[in-house]
Symmetry: C2
Subunit: 460 residues, 2 copies
Amino acid sequence: MILENALAGAAAAARAFGRTTPADRAAMLRAAADALDAAAGELVPSAMTESRLPEARLTGELARTTFQARLFADRLEQGLLHDVRVDHADPDWPMGPRPDIRRTQVPIGPVLVFAASNFPFAFSVFGGDTVSALAAGCPVVVKAHPGHPGLSRRTAAVVAPHLPDGVFALIEGVDAGAAAVQDPRIKAVGFTGSTRGGRALFDLAASRPEPIPFYGELGSTNPVVVTPAGWAARAEEIATGFAGSVTLGSGQFCTKPGIVLVPDAEAFLAAVPELSAGPMLNERIEGGFCTAAREMAAAVTVARGEVGGGPVLFRSTAVEVLKRPELLELEVFGPAALILEYADVPEALQVLDAVGGQLTGTVQGADTDPDAPELVARLAEHAGRVLWNQWPTGVTVSDAQQHGGPYPATTAPTTTSVGTAAAARFLRPVAFQNIPEAALPAELREGAPGPRRVDGITRA
Amino acid sequence: MILENALAGAAAAARAFGRTTPADRAAMLRAAADALDAAAGELVPSAMTESRLPEARLTGELARTTFQARLFADRLEQGLLHDVRVDHADPDWPMGPRPDIRRTQVPIGPVLVFAASNFPFAFSVFGGDTVSALAAGCPVVVKAHPGHPGLSRRTAAVVAPHLPDGVFALIEGVDAGAAAVQDPRIKAVGFTGSTRGGRALFDLAASRPEPIPFYGELGSTNPVVVTPAGWAARAEEIATGFAGSVTLGSGQFCTKPGIVLVPDAEAFLAAVPELSAGPMLNERIEGGFCTAAREMAAAVTVARGEVGGGPVLFRSTAVEVLKRPELLELEVFGPAALILEYADVPEALQVLDAVGGQLTGTVQGADTDPDAPELVARLAEHAGRVLWNQWPTGVTVSDAQQHGGPYPATTAPTTTSVGTAAAARFLRPVAFQNIPEAALPAELREGAPGPRRVDGITRA
């Protein structure tokens, strides 16, 4: 769509769409999800052609995508996307008489979503950013990823008829995306992509006359710590699990384990089975993988594979990378990881403190592992999700999911881009003071259903 | 304190303070609040000397400040500051087997707080930003406001002994504040002050190599709409209430009603009783008031009072200001307001759509007022708090309070700087996947007390 039409349509639709009921929006999300499922026979082949990803993966990803939309619909119907608080008037409130005051959230306004290349369904046109913004009541303008333009247009064509005019639009092109970030009609941005591209757009959003929230999910190297006890007890399981995770989706996941701290690098490398990966998404991403891998190879040893020829493992030590901590943030987007040998757990902890913000951090340990509590606590200081004896690739969509973390994992560390809490990014709190019942939002009226906090007490 | 000592101390203290229990932090907040109350006899006279504010106001403000700290302590003990979510492992989760995943929040890290001049207790050294950050588990470095340096040092001296070493520090000076915003050890900033000063610091925070959240509460003109029915039914009450609100605290509140839309400006002005206000906080603020008032006087009529001589009311019409909408965002910080006559309610709504982001918006109406629902809904699109038949000055501290709004009211429209939800600004969500019970944060363990969402169901 022409950019001006998309922006004007979103601005014109915002008020009416923002006033739809949660049940209205739930019905729209379900209708769009049903339509996408019904179009799987057309969409999946289109995605295969453009992304080089296999059919099974894409079929599963589409199922995940429509499930995600329906989960937001469920939570809308259950009154679980809004944080409702009611404080009745209280003449005895200790700081002075309290008026009747009630808090809910309203949509932030039209949202711009930058689709990602590596999940052509789940993080693209009707992905998590789009459905969480629609659930919040915001019109969405999606900037299509150039990696799958045909699929993007088809997805948009399937979805749009189930949403009111102006509520959904697809735009294309780098310039259109940058112009939209700076347009006063856009009130928030969701982005999934590289640190470099995301930071450039973040800077545009922050430098507007009216700066707006920019929810960028950028880079992560996802450190994994194999404990001494874990390696002693579960060496083969760990090495095999790692091989599967680092090559899953050809390593083209933001949660790919890129840094692995091990007590014995030689033993670990010997135990890792042969690595194989499918083709990469496109030549641009393959080129980026090779460039980053060459940069890493210039600094450390190539222990397995070859730069430019599929999966590759690098090797160094904790002591060495602590002298060059920039290597810990060098994301080699593809089937690659840096294996670091540490002398003792305090040395591994030092590396964790140097890695910067992360989407995930993982501990591979043993039952009653003496190092588990401190490693988990330390990873929680730096990452948005901490795992034990599982692998970070594969991100479930649920209420408790958190996909984010300190910069550069995201530009908005108090938020998530996956899971039902993602809608909060596009909801703005408003307090209603002494407002007559008839003029209150429905969820704030006396006796309205749904969980809430009333006079400081949670009601289920 | 020397800046480097403050920052180094905060960074060194962050880990241990972040791992204190909510009960530990509640006890610290209570001890500090008790110490402040006990020192009232020393603090209030100090505040009177430096702020020119009367004793009764300052005594009340100190009570509000210590109440606020104790309310955060209550909510910590009740488990109400964290949004706890537990999703048990579910092999039948529709998108694929779900691991056990549990979400809570961890402290974001050391917080820098810029104190305000106009509330020497409640928005200063131990004000809302400070106590919400401490409640979240973050060390705080406060940049003292130069309007009350002696009081700031005394307050810090009373509070500091009740907090662990490094957890609280006071710094002074514009340069120290700007340097601290850019220091990598600072992870978030709270600010209350002018749009100009706040925007400059926001720009510094956003342009860091690691950008950080900047929670700035900046300017607002707080529109009030008097409906035709409201004016017919409650003219005297409205005019009297307005006179009290516009002069309260000499108009030096960010919630002062600065724009009043009325059906009959002449009748409104005739009904407003004589306006009187105490001295202003200091010469700098008085100078700023005069400058802004002169700017307004150059564009519209001075209807009451004189520029440079205490309270002043300006007068124009909706039609005129719609031609010069910048006047709607011109905050004349002091006892002043712009009275705008509108021809009909649609014209008043047009003005509301032009006013930009606001902390508050108010409707003064009548019982069964036909215009109430649309005016309330429209103000909710632009403001953080909407009031009916009350006045926006006086901001209660409670769970449902919202003090924020779209830019320029704040730089972070999804957050609040007043009320218990303010702690969320300094809490970063973390998901724990498949973590052994002993390594989980206490609130995430099975059977832990406190409200939570378990497998999609709210538990009180």
